[in-house]
Symmetry: C2
Subunit: 339 residues, 2 copies
């Protein structure tokens, strides 16, 4: 099986993808897809194109023996998560794939990878419009294209002193699974299964990102850990924040299961895991206190739970408040590939 | 030096790039660049976005010891060449970079790579608007964005029986250099220097692609070898072609030098190298015979020589005609990474 047959068999489809929302005219946007020097996209009048690219490297972002269907899902999910954090709706993506020769011959692996990728793509009306295939150490580079009305992007630089800080879903589960798979700590098998779903099949919060347009003052997705990604918002906006968890138990979905296996982790460890773990693909965002009911309504429309976890301060720095209102500094460091 | 400092120091620039052609309003098109979850692009009204992605892998597309400034040039050039083949003018690009830790620490290497990339980007008004940086085996994945008036793309599927086949510049020099560097054959040092320029610093034929809008019936860039890339046009258009070189001496720029070092190569070898060598980044295109003077005028406007090398036939297949008009079949095979 050569390069062109591989593309033809696994990645080229004659029909347009099933569209989650015909109203956005995505079919018209994709003027021309796979099979020429370039793909052609035409955003609707008045719309901007949101573009993001993420590269996944074997042994760095995923284990060599990861289920290929999950890998196809995750490679696209981490890119769609960037569109979600901008408030954009997906249109299309390109896939550049470096494959070791043994993978290029492994039809079961390629078929499962394509299945996982297309299942998520179809769910969000995101067409694969082009790419590149080459021999090399396993590397997946996806670039996604979304659209949004000009001027309505959820940027990182809009947080203002007095804004609430919110986060969607739960945080820390992916890091717990990663540690267990790496042998850093044990997890009971059923707890690992649940946490591993979060690590290997993250859910991009696209509906929430769309619902927050015009409501959130700033947003980012939590890929490198909450403190790091919130730190990007603080830096871009020139502000600080105090996190103030009245109840931190929401942070880790599998926490209830861990309590029954008590003695495994103390609460300080779980809090640190939730705050710095990464690979969660939730949204962290800010909004003025006057928008609290609008945020809750957006959360319900998007069927995505959100929790208020702090407030933006004029003075730079990121702090954690305890039950007595005393604050301690948090290191606002994101995961760094070269640190 | 961490991931974020690396981006800040080598790849983030505060000024918009020097624009080769202000009239195309590229500055307005780039609504928002590096530093958020997504970049934002807004093509001018009535314009389509042309998108292409190319991945370069160390040891596969370039030697580990290649001059990093040339590598930065080439990584972007091969992508811009796809825009040229579509008749699009460059707007922007993203860069995803997997770097081994020793490269991530090598400031001289990174600085030279960025210098080569930005020199070519600035020449064509192509802004770097985003990307990704990760640890891993050296891999460069660039996605380029260009724009063109809706409906005016130079596609591969427009060649018609009776059309002329044209090619720009010269073919085969890059392959001669590659073979010499790999030790497949010797080349005199001055000949190698000239040929190596073609391999390591290819010139994307953007001006010619733009000038051929509305004139060429089909076009592709010659990245995998003339017979392979012309083969893509033939397949997409459902036609065949006969190549008919009255004078094949134009094919290889360094041929004159090789003649003086006679005995190194026979003419059959040189013809094969020119027809199948690859890495040339010239344009192969078709146009009706009535457009011959328009093609010549486009060639002069773009300051890029073109040569008529054959004609499109209704019957499928690719043939080479000899001086007596007898034809022999040519294998229309492109370079295949997994063959």
């Amino acid at each position: 099986m050569g390069e062109f047959e591989l593309i033809e068999r696994f990645f080229k489809r004659n029909q347009p993808p099933v569209l989650a929302n015909q109203a956005r005219a995505a079919i018209n946007s994709i003027a021309f897809g796979i099979g020429d020097d370039c793909a052609l996209l035409q955003p609707a009048p008045g719309m901007q194109l949101a573009i993001s690219t993420d590269m996944l490297v074997e042994g760095r972002h995923f284990f060599a023996d990861v289920d290929p269907e999950s890998l196809g899902h995750k490679a696209l999910a981490v890119n769609l998560s960037d569109l979600a954090a901008m408030g954009a709706e997906p249109l299309a993506c390109t896939l550049a794939l470096a494959l070791p020769p043994e993978r290029a011959r492994d039809e079961a692996w390629l078929g499962a990878f394509a299945r996982g990728l297309f299942a998520l793509a179809d769910e969000h009306g995101c067409a694969l419009i082009g790419g590149d295939t080459t021999a090399g150490p396993l590397n997946l580079c996806i670039t996604v294209f979304g659209q949004l009305p000009a001027g309505q992007a959820l940027r990182r630089d809009g947080a203002r002193a007095g804004d609430d800080v919110w986060v969607s879903g739960t945080l820390g589960d992916a890091r717990l699974a990663l540690g267990a798979l790496r042998g850093e700590w044990p997890l009971p098998p059923d707890v690992l299964d649940a946490a591993r779903q979060r690590l290997e099949r993250p859910t991009p919060r696209l509906a929430l990102g769309l619902a927050l347009r015009g409501i959130a003052s700033a947003a980012a997705d939590v890929s490198d850990g909450l403190t790091g990604d919130l730190g990007h918002i603080l830096q871009a906006s020139g502000v600080g924040a105090v996190l103030d968890f009245e109840d931190a138990s929401f942070l880790i979905a599998v926490r209830a299961d861990l309590t029954s296996a008590d003695g495994l982790f103390d609460s300080a460890f779980l809090l640190k895991t939730a705050l710095t773990g990464g690979d969660d693909y939730e949204l962290v965002f800010t909004a003025p206190p006057t928008a609290r009911s609008a945020v809750q309504a957006a959360s319900e429309r998007a069927a995505t739970p959100v929790t208020r976890i702090g407030r933006i301060e004029a003075a730079p720095g990121l702090y954690l408040a305890d039950a007595d209102g005393r604050t301690a500094p948090l290191a606002a460091r994101a995961f760094d590939h070269f640190a």
